[in-house]
Each structure stands twice: as structure tokens, then as C-alpha cells.
Amino acid sequence: MQAKILTGNEAVAHAVCLSRVQVVPAYPITPQTTVVENLAKMKADGMFLGEFIEVESENTALAYCIGAAYAGARTFTATSSHGLAYVHELLHWAAGARLSMVLANANRALGAPWCIESDQTDSLAQRDTGWVQLYCSSVQEILDTVLLAFRVTAESKLPVLVVYDGFYLSHVHEPVLVPPQALVDSFLPPLPDKPAFKLELPRNHYGLANASFMARLVQRRFGATAEINEVYAGVNQAYYRLTGRNYPAVEYWGSQTASSLFLTAGAMTQTIQSFIQERAGEEALLKIKLFRPFPAAALQKLIHSKLKRIIVVDRNIAYGVGGILAQEVRAALYSAPYQPEILELNLAGGLDLTPTLLEKALRFSGNESIMWAVNFR
């Protein structure tokens, strides 16, 4: 297997081809556009054999995915920012109906005003829709995560959102190992040989429910979502055995005796790792791979007694509260035996995380609960 240079968006298209996806409805939006452009080209070149459908909006794209998933087909689409916000209603529907599908989101800021910078609020704000959310920190990880996502969604009957930072990952060119088709075929479950229902025998899917019926469904979905921790661990283990590449739900990186710990998700993890490595520092990093369900138990186990401070690096915002990862971490550690101080470094708006900012965050001794990166540049 030889590495080749791909962008994050190209890696997604390759993974969709390798997964033998049957239905791809497509609508462009920066910075995701080259995902669907590449798939269109692969379709024209005879490399992608599924249906490629040009639709008139993101809402229609996800509606097509829902229809295809009802019929049992393997289905995928990609979007960003306003496109993801636009399909919010259907995100609830897809998860509620327990449909298997994968949606890739290249992070981009939400207007107003128009801004295409890499802010993660678009995907993190969908945290209560019932979708599984997986974050990526390299082009290799994007390709691998799309494959992981198809198996997770098939096993759990919950839709999966694969998330990566716009431009920093969607448009970066870097070396990637593209697994052979046979490996992917052995990793993913077989495709259905016929649709799940016949058009000649119409059925009503998901009619009107009363509160007690709905309440039981909600509880069942809640249980299914909690089981994702186990499902994901199993799928990741299976992929690790095949490729040697491992993406734990939450990963501790660096010194086991660190007193300061950075915590983030996505492209910024690699900048932090490189920063720690460069200064041979005593810091460590927690990389959040699985954001929904939030791996609270796994996170608690990784918090040791030497830790004095967690610096949560959020490139997103929940107005009136703070960074979204920071909120999740506070909630997850509420019952933890060790309670390190939590400091927020916030880059909402799409600011670039630089080594200078990380140094300033380590030295920060102010009283503010949020260090706004825009004030420290």
C-alpha cells in the first residue's frame, strides 16, 4: 500500500467509493464542495458506481438520504455550516427513525455575516439531534473515519456525522494510505441485495404517536445512543486489526505526570501535539474523537491526580455559556474523583490556533473564565 497526496475532501470521496455507497444526493457548499465534485467526477469516470443525484438544496439532499435509507440502501451526503443548519429538522427525523446513513461536515462559521472560516459551532450545535458525531485530525483520519462511520451506522441503526475542520483539513494536501477495496469489503457489512420494501405494497412509516408511545421510543433511542461507546470501540478495534490505525473515542497523549492538559477535537489536536513535542513539554493532550455520545466515563478514567489544570480549546461557542467542549467536559467531570481547574481558550469565529496562543494559555493567570484568543494575538 503506497501513500498518495490527497486533500481531506478528496479522501472523503475515496472513502465513499470504497464503501460502495449506493445513493449520493449532492448539493455544493464551501468548503465541502470538492467532496461532491470529486464524487461527480468519479461517477463520470466509472469509478463510483452508486446513484449520484444533483438536488436543489441540502434539505432535499438529506430527504433523499432518508428515502434511500428507508429502502435499506447505503447512503451518504456532505455539507457545511448553513447547509447543516438548514437540515436540522431532518437530522432529528433520520435519528428518530433509526436510519443508517453517513453525513460528512466540513466545519465553517455560521452567519451573519457571511464567513467561511473554520468554526466548529455548525456541527457541535447539532449535538441534541441524536446523531453520532466523530471528529478528525488528519486527512488519513478522515478517510478512515468515513469507513468506521459506515460500520457504526450499520450496526447501531443511528446516523453518523463525520466532522473535519474546513480548509485546515478539507483543503490540505498530505500523504494518505488508501486501503485496498478488498480490505474495505471485508470490514464493512455486505450490501442488501433488495430494497426493504416494495413500491407496489406501500406502507406508512412513522405515523402519529401519543406521548407515552413517544416516551418509550425516546428511552429506547437514548439506550441505543449510550451503546455507541461499545459499538464504536468494537468497530475501531476491528479496523485497527486490519490497518494498524487506531482512533479511540478519547485519547490521552503526552506525559503521564502532566500538570497541564490541553483538550480539543479536530485539526487543532495536531497543532497542540506538535507544540508539546517541540518544547519537550510536560503537558499532555486529550483528543476527543467521539463527541456524541460524549465519552464521559472514558474521559474520567484518564484524569489523574497530577493534573492541576485542563485548558479546553474550543473553536465554537454556545452564547451565554462558553465553549461547547468546555461545557461537556465540566459535566463529564462533575462526579470525577479529581477536579482540575478548567480554563477555556476560545477561538470562535474561526481563528488560527498558533503555538504563540498555546504558550500564552499556559502562562495565563487572569481571573476570566474564558481566554478569548482574539484578545491575545
Partner: protein
């Protein structure tokens, strides 16, 4: 920095700045390096300022931030605001500039060790090196970089052949001209 070379490219939309970063990364990758190339988007218009970045290193882990302190700066257009391409350049930073003579420019870069220059615009105009009507400055600049030693010319040639099969001959000629013409400011 563990042999990490951080390169920042400044030019305008239509000059092939982003492609140059990508081809550079591809060429170094053929020589066994870990590489990364990306650009700042938002103004993908012909003539608008474009900044692209490339990292060439020996370690598996490359940072993902924009390059604030480049080892190497490549300037496609000297009419861009100087403060943008001079910002944060390392003390021993090296420049490659598309201009007729870099002597005047060198005066403006105190502390910088080396300024290379190549008159890419003139070479492209006088030799008719055009692709879809646009002067092929980026291949000339890439040829110059091979001479300066960022990667070998043979690697560049391989990448141009693979990535631009339809315009290989003209790009190769452009790269060769750049390789031959680049000069260090004394």
C-alpha cells in the same frame, strides 16, 4: 526544528500560487519527506491576494496552523503589500522573488540571509510560456526552487508529468527556464 522547513507563498489569484504549494509538497514527498500544503481561501478571485503554505519535514507530526515564522518566503508579485510577505520571517529566512533584480529589494530585508530572484514574468512573456493564455509563472518559480535546493529537479519533473499530463511539455520548459535563470543577490 527537527529539519522542518516552513514555506509561505504570496501571490495573486490566477498565478498558480496554490498549485505551486501543492506541487512543491508532492515533489518533496517523492523524496521521502512528510509534507503538507494548504492555502487561505475566501478570495478566490483572479488578481486578489493569495497566501499558501507548505511544510516539508522529517517527522510524522506537522502542526496545522498558518505559518507565522517562515524559513522560506516565495513572492510571486512584489506589488503586494510588503508587510504581508515580510511578516514574521525567521532571522535566517530565505526569499525567492519574482522580479527583474532583487538588489533594491534586498535593501528592504535587513537581517535576511539570502534573497534569490528570478524574472519569471519576463521569461514567461518572452518565451511565450502560456497556459490558457496565462503566463506560467508558477512552474518557473518551482524550477528556481529546485535550483535553490528545496527538492530535486527530477522529482519536480515526475510530479509535473503525472499531474499535468496535458500541459507537461510547456510546464517542463518553464521549470527548466526557472532553474537556469534564478540568481542569488550578492
Amino acid at each position: 526544528m527537527n529539519g522542518l522547513m516552513e514555506i509561505r507563498l504570496h501571490g495573486r489569484g490566477g498565478q498558480g500560487v496554490v498549485s505551486a504549494a501543492k506541487v512543491m509538497a508532492e515533489a518533496a514527498f517523492r523524496e521521502g519527506k512528510n509534507v503538507q500544503a494548504f492555502s487561505l481561501h475566501g478570495a478566490e478571485r483572479r488578481g486578489a491576494p493569495v497566501t499558501a503554505f507548505a511544510r516539508i519535514g522529517n517527522t510524522a507530526l506537522l502542526p496545522r496552523c498558518q505559518i507565522q515564522h517562515p524559513d522560506f518566503v516565495i513572492v510571486f508579485d512584489t506589488l503586494l503589500p510588503r508587510e504581508t510577505f515580510c511578516a514574521g520571517v525567521k532571522e535566517k529566512g530565505v526569499y525567492l522573488i519574482n522580479c527583474p533584480d532583487a538588489k533594491a529589494n534586498k535593501l528592504a530585508f535587513p537581517g535576511v540571509q539570502k534573497v534569490w530572484f528570478v524574472d519569471a514574468a519576463k521569461i514567461a512573456a518572452t518565451t511565450g510560456l502560456l497556459s490558457t493564455g496565462i503566463p506560467i509563472i508558477n512552474a518557473i518559480m518551482l524550477g528556481a526552487l529546485a535550483r535553490i535546493g528545496l527538492f530535486q529537479f527530477a522529482s519536480l519533473k515526475t510530479v509535473l508529468r503525472e499531474k499535468l499530463p496535458g500541459a507537461f511539455a510547456v510546464n517542463l520548459t518553464a521549470a527548466e527556464k526557472g532553474y537556469e535563470s534564478v540568481k542569488e543577490t550578492k
